[in-house]
């Protein structure tokens, strides 16, 4: 036999995988390259330039939307992570008790419902509250983002908790630690990587959301993604490429951090 027989080989699979990886990255690379285009076109190359980054960073609407996006994501991700940490503590390391399955179903529910349906539901519900209370601030967007971030924050925290047994907490209790001291000094430090991973996931998820924000936002409450959607619908300029590139860079940084935090063994 000329070629040794590999049991792992399947004809064509490597080619398809190569095509997939190239296809996944090629459009993103093209998008990034044209963000540095001198010409005001996204098809013809006119030389290297940073002018689109400059114009984007001086565009008042872009600055406004970016700040709003970060504000919502920071508040919603923090709230969601706190709620998810508490929920994870309540639903792990316990014999089954009545209502446990209900809690799982409830926490994962936002993952099961298409975003468009949640968006419509919140549009209707919040428009009622708006008429009733007269309040039309960012609170609605923050509430909506917190709710759909909870299941994402919950996943890594719960996974981390399930790998921790109760023996250290029991030892702390034996040494006369109060429940709060045991939590603060034992559980929390051990759980920290999970919490951090959950926080980062929630932050990215909130930052990326288009559909629910599009339905919930009041006038003048554009986030960066909804602003970009509006611009793309109107026609495209390399400025959108520049904004996308900055956004991409941020996502890659957060995902890389997440990857290392969640893979870290203790």
């Amino acid at each position: 036999m000329a070629k040794s027989f590999s049991i792992r080989h399947q004809p064509g699979f490597t080619t398809i995988a190569a095509v997939c990886f190239v296809a996944l990255y090629m459009p993103i690379i093209v998008l990034v390259v044209y963000a540095f285009n001198e010409a005001p076109s996204t098809s013809e190359w006119g030389g290297f330039s940073l002018k689109w980054f400059q114009s984007a960073s001086q565009n008042a609407q872009v600055i406004d939307a970016t700040l709003r996006s970060f504000q919502i994501a920071a508040i919603a991700a923090t709230l969601a992570t706190i709620a998810a940490t508490m929920a994870a503590l309540a639903t792990t390391r316990t014999p089954p008790y009545p209502g446990l399955t209900f809690k799982y179903a409830m926490i994962n529910q936002p993952l099961m419902v298409p975003e468009i349906v949640t968006g419509v539901a919140l549009l209707i519900f919040f428009s009622r509250i708006k008429i009733f209370t007269g309040y039309s601030g960012l609170g609605y967007l923050i509430a909506a983002h917190t709710a759909f971030c909870i299941p994402f924050a919950y996943l890594p925290i719960r996974a981390r908790l399930e790998n921790m047994d109760l023996s250290l907490e029991r030892a702390a209790a034996d040494l006369y630690a109060t429940p709060w001291q045991a939590f603060r000094r034992v559980t929390l430090p051990l759980l920290w990587p999970g919490i951090l991973a959950g926080l980062m996931l929630a932050f990215v998820i909130s930052l990326d959301d288009v559909v629910i924000t599009e339905f919930v936002k009041s006038g003048g409450q554009d986030t960066l993604p909804t602003y970009m959607l509006g611009q793309i619908r109107r026609g495209i300029t390399p400025e959108i490429n520049a904004i996308s590139t900055a956004f991409l860079l941020l996502s890659v940084v957060i995902v890389t951090l997440f990857f290392f935090v969640s893979r870290k063994r203790d």
Partner: protein
């Protein structure tokens, strides 16, 4: 005096009660800002549309009738609503084809990743994870730039002299398909890979020892073993694809609507909130049917092993 048993029971009860307090913030937030409002959508779907959007509090089954039927304005007869049915059909069709394309591409990719050495596997996984967490709108926008008439695909094909005029891909169903397959591919690869990683290659070896061909090994050994991952991946792709909003609005233009664009229309220019609500519930029902199929398949799988 309380017996030891009673004391233990009381402690258990206290523990469960504390666990309810602890989970209350998460449960209440999700109830008020995600689950609860779905009930209001159901109520709204049975009301009468108001003249300037919103609703009049008056019962009417009209919204549900007009999900599939049109009422003739002169003689009040019902006929099938061609526009709605074609949008339903397009959404279901595109979601199914997207699932099949991502499976056809994602299965070999996951297999490739799972057969790499332990060390490089993490790198491949990382390369799939990055697009997965990258903003969906940005990825859709990246596809838009590739496939539009002045985009790289058409430019290269014209320079090579293969075509003389650009092919119109953008604003067609094909564009929506390319876009959805592109953005949802990682959702298929990740669960299939998770199953594939646990695959015991001794079983594959045994298959070859028994004179199975590559195709037989794939069909009779590998595929059945990773089926849970394939089903999970298909569900993960199908659910967002059926309710896709960003991809059809960016790549489909105004003409090629999917269900979510039709729903949006009812809350915007259409000013028919009850119809929008009824359509939303319909999307929910389609998703629930898909989930039921998933649960039944996953369930029977477990029983066979147990």
């Amino acid at each position: 005096m309380a017996t030891a048993e009673e004391i233990a029971k009381a402690a258990d009860r206290r523990d469960v009660r504390n666990r309810w307090y602890l989970s209350a913030p998460a449960l209440l937030t999700i109830f008020f800002a995600a689950v609860g409002p779905l009930a209001i959508v159901l109520v709204y779907s049975f009301l009468t549309p108001g003249s300037y959007g919103d609703v009049k509090w008056q019962f009417s089954p009209e919204a549900w009738v007009s999900v599939l039927f049109e009422r003739d304005i002169f003689d009040d007869t019902l006929s099938l609503a061609g526009a709605h049915i074609s949008i339903f059909w397009r959404s279901v069709k595109l979601a199914i084809i997207t699932t099949l394309i991502t499976l056809a591409l994602g299965f070999p990719t996951a297999y490739f990743m799972a057969t790499r050495s332990e060390k490089t596997r993490d790198l491949w996984l990382f390369l799939i994870t990055i697009p997965f967490w990258t903003n969906l709108l940005i990825r859709t926008f990246a596809v838009l730039q590739i496939i539009r008439n002045e985009g790289i695909v058409n430019t290269v094909l014209m320079k090579l002299g293969i075509i003389s005029a650009p092919i119109q891909i953008l604003y067609t169903d094909v564009a929506i398909l390319i876009g959805m397959a592109y953005v949802y591919l990682p959702l298929m690869v990740l669960p299939v890979y998770a199953s594939m990683e646990k695959l015991d290659f001794r079983l594959v070896e045994a298959g070859y020892d028994l004179y199975a061909s590559r195709w037989q090994v794939l069909r009779r050994i590998i595929f059945p073993l990773v089926k849970p991952g394939v089903i999970a991946g298909s569900i993960l792709v199908f659910i967002p694809a059926i309710g896709a909003y960003v991809t059809p609005s960016v790549l489909g233009g105004g003409k090629n609507m999917m269900l979510s664009n039709l729903i949006e229309l009812q809350f915007g220019q259409g000013r028919n909130w009850p119809l929008g609500s009824a359509l939303s519930i319909t999307v929910m029902l389609i998703v629930m049917v898909a989930l039921l199929v998933y649960v039944r398949n996953a369930g029977s799988k477990e029983m066979r092993h147990g």
